[in-house]
């Protein structure tokens, strides 16, 4: 069988562009992204290298890209998240955070952010975190006279912390696509997650000082209250300690650490009254999400294999690196592109579709493989740049969960509290959007925040 479009290897870049259009066309017409990518990749392979060789490459990808030990970390990480909801940790975390920091201006809102950051240590799911905290924290804030826009906004925004603080499925996926160390990426997300939470907290305090009626301080907690709140949050610290110390100290692989973390949360959930039915539901949900992610991975990899034959990423990289503009300006444009795309696409899908082209381009912009810090555009080695860019794009993808028109987190908050109109949630989000822009700027200009922990590991 000859080339389908009669172009073949005469102009691989043209074939690449045709198949990129095919991918987006199919995806827009409702073909699931994974299958659209598989179709576009397969068609492109047949065009470039013929049916037989194309088929033999494409045919091995679903198995080869799923039966990898490094990827076995995903199911335990996802399971921890689902089990954590059964373990009743959110209420206890919020109670503890309230007792410790409720006295600040806007203290309950700050406590919500800190509790969500803590919950992120057992959950990688933004929307689910926003949902549960809508029920736990919003009533408490409203009872204390908080402005409902602030109450709703903080819950929706705080949910996004889940994806940076380990365990995070999306960072594992990023690590896989760019062939970076899973452990390094997971560690790298930790400090940016904390910094984001602190920036959220600082913005709330400033806002509440300027508008004392919007977020009054809640006083009257004793040290006894504070200490009594601690045992309830111990399991969270245990899981965070297991995962971070295992990756950092190397006493277990991320998969094993995830498994142990899931086991600890399971035990807590059982003591909280979870029965077989709850466990089965959590496992079935985990299975669904696992299959969804893996299908996307192998579908996209078929397309990526083709893209590499087509030389599109290389051509795009050379073009981008050769632009006569400041590299930070180019990076800014790329991030802006992500912000726009993120308005219409799910975070994981967006990363998988865009990274095969943008990742090599940003690496080339930095100076390519083997570049030293001094020679590079961003003052980072290849490996450092790769981790740094990952954290920034994941943070970008998260910001899109709170921006109109389809900021899913905002709709989740409105779904739990139908009395708070979605427009009020979007209004309440505004100050957190400013906080996120500051956080991203901090990550861009102070890469040390991202690289401090992974550098220690080396």
């Amino acid at each position: 069988m000859g080339p389908l479009f009669g172009i073949g290897y005469n102009d691989p870049v043209l074939v690449g562009i045709i198949c990129l259009c095919l991918l987006f066309g199919l995806a827009l017409l409702g073909v699931r992204v994974a299958f659209a990518a598989a179709i576009a990749g397969f068609v492109g392979m047949v065009e470039l290298i013929g049916f037989g060789p194309g088929a033999s490459q494409v045919g091995t990808i679903p198995y080869a890209k799923t039966s990898l030990y490094a990827l076995s970390v995903l199911p335990p990480f996802i399971l921890i998240g689902f089990l954590a909801f059964h373990a009743g940790m959110t209420t206890k975390l919020f109670a503890a955070a309230r007792a410790w920091i409720g006295w600040l201006p806007g203290g309950l809102a700050v406590a919500t952010v800190m509790a969500q950051a803590g919950f992120a240590a057992v959950s990688g799911a933004s929307t689910a975190t926003a949902a549960v905290f809508s029920r736990v924290a919003i009533p408490e804030m409203l009872k204390n006279g908080y402005d409902r826009k602030l109450a709703a906004g903080v819950v929706a925004a705080g949910g996004t912390l889940a994806t940076l603080i380990p365990p995070s499925a999306i960072l594992v996926i990023y690590a896989l696509i760019v062939e970076e160390s899973v452990g390094a990426l997971l560690l790298a997300g930790f400090l940016p997650g904390i910094v984001s939470a602190l920036i959220y907290g600082a913005i709330i305090v400033l806002w509440a000082r300027a508008h004392p009626e919007a977020g009054p301080a809640v006083k009257g907690y004793t040290w006894g209250d504070r200490l009594r709140s601690m045992p309830g949050v111990l399991p969270i610290f245990a899981v965070a300690f297991i995962i971070i110390s295992a990756i950092y100290g190397g006493w277990a692989t991320p998969t094993e650490a995830g498994a142990l973390g899931a086991f600890v949360v399971l035990l807590v959930a059982i003591t909280q009254g979870m029965r077989f039915r709850g466990l089965k539901d959590a496992l079935m949900e985990t299975a669904r999400l696992t299959v969804m992610i893996f299908t996307l991975i192998w579908g996209i990899f078929i397309f990526v294999t083709f893209l590499n034959y087509s030389l599109v990423p290389q051509t795009f990289s050379e073009w981008l690196a050769g632009l006569p503009y400041n590299p930070y300006a180019v990076l800014f444009c790329i991030l802006l592109g992500y912000a726009i795309l993120g308005m219409f696409m799910d975070a994981i899908g967006m990363l998988l579709v865009t990274l095969p082209i943008f990742y090599p381009a940003v690496m080339a912009l930095n100076g390519g493989e083997g570049v030293t810090r001094e020679e590079s555009a961003f003052g980072l080695t290849f490996e450092e740049c790769s981790i740094w860019f990952g954290i920034i794009v994941v943070k970008m993808a998260e910001v899109c969960l709170i921006t109109p028109p389809i900021g899913l987190n905002c709709f989740v908050v409105n779904g739990v509290r139908p009395d708070i109109p979605v427009m009020d949630v979007f209004r309440g989000i505004a100050i957190f959007f400013v906080a996120d822009v500051l956080a991203i700027a901090a990550l861009v200009f102070f890469p040390e925040i991202v690289l401090f922990l992974p550098d220690l590991m080396r």
Partner: protein, 218 residues
């Protein structure tokens, strides 16, 4: 966005094509649910294996990590990663961009859905065939893992099985969607009914709240 739900009617619809789709949908449900349940069990097993591996590997305790642990995990990955693929297609879990089609309704929507299901059907026939060849090669040459020398074919055969079921599921969706394209007023069977953003939010909430029902707020 990926929200969707499968539609279950207790009784077959009146029209002939509807009855056929309803029946085929029922036949496929059982193996799909079973395979996803096996995947769920495998996840439980993966968790327990990880814990055992850590305990058994403790230098001061047993210092005897499970032999072939990594090989076994790699071979079992297709169980958790691929077996449930048809189940996910039925439930509308696989993500898609609905920016354009969310504006469609009636005949146009179901025609586009028919097209999408047909695309999935065609590519998965190819993928199923390729995966079968891949398994067959491994079976014929007696391929095994490098460390523990476990045979790979029992793991590789799972891929064409799961893909085959997805081909059948996509076929049911073609029938279900084209039936609605012909007459959008009929009750939907054998198709994923797309949800809007507010309904997706409700879905997320239901999932997250399942475990939190017992607790009061605050």
């Amino acid at each position: 966005m990926s929200g969707g739900s499968d539609h279950v009617l207790d009784h077959p619809p009146e029209d002939g094509l509807g009855r056929l789709v309803w029946r085929l949908d029922r036949i496929l449900r059982w193996p799909e649910d079973a395979l996803n349940f096996i995947a769920a069990l495998a996840i439980m097993f993966l968790m327990l294996m990880g814990v055992v591996q850590i305990v058994a590997g403790l230098r001061w305790l047993f210092n005897a990590p499970i032999f072939g642990y990594i090989d076994a995990i790699e071979l079992s990955m297709p169980i958790l990663a691929i077996l449930g693929i048809a189940y996910c297609q039925r439930m509308g879990v696989h993500i898609r961009m609905d920016i354009l089609i969310q504006n469609f309704s009636g005949r146009l929507l179901w025609s586009v859905e028919t097209f999408a299901a047909t695309c999935t059907f065609v590519i998965m026939i190819f993928m199923c065939y390729f995966a079968w060849n891949f398994f067959n090669d491994a079976f014929v040459i007696g391929d095994s893992t490098t460390d523990a020398e476990l045979p790979t074919w029992p793991s590789k055969i799972l891929v064409p099985i799961a893909f085959g079921l997805l081909v059948l599921r996509a076929f049911v969706q073609i029938l279900g969607a084209s039936r609605l394209a012909l007459n959008p007023k009929l009750a939907p069977v054998g198709v994923v009914v797309q949800k809007d953003i507010a309904e997706q939010a409700q879905e997320e909430i239901r999932e997250a709240m399942a475990g939190e029902q017992r607790e009061g707020p605050g």
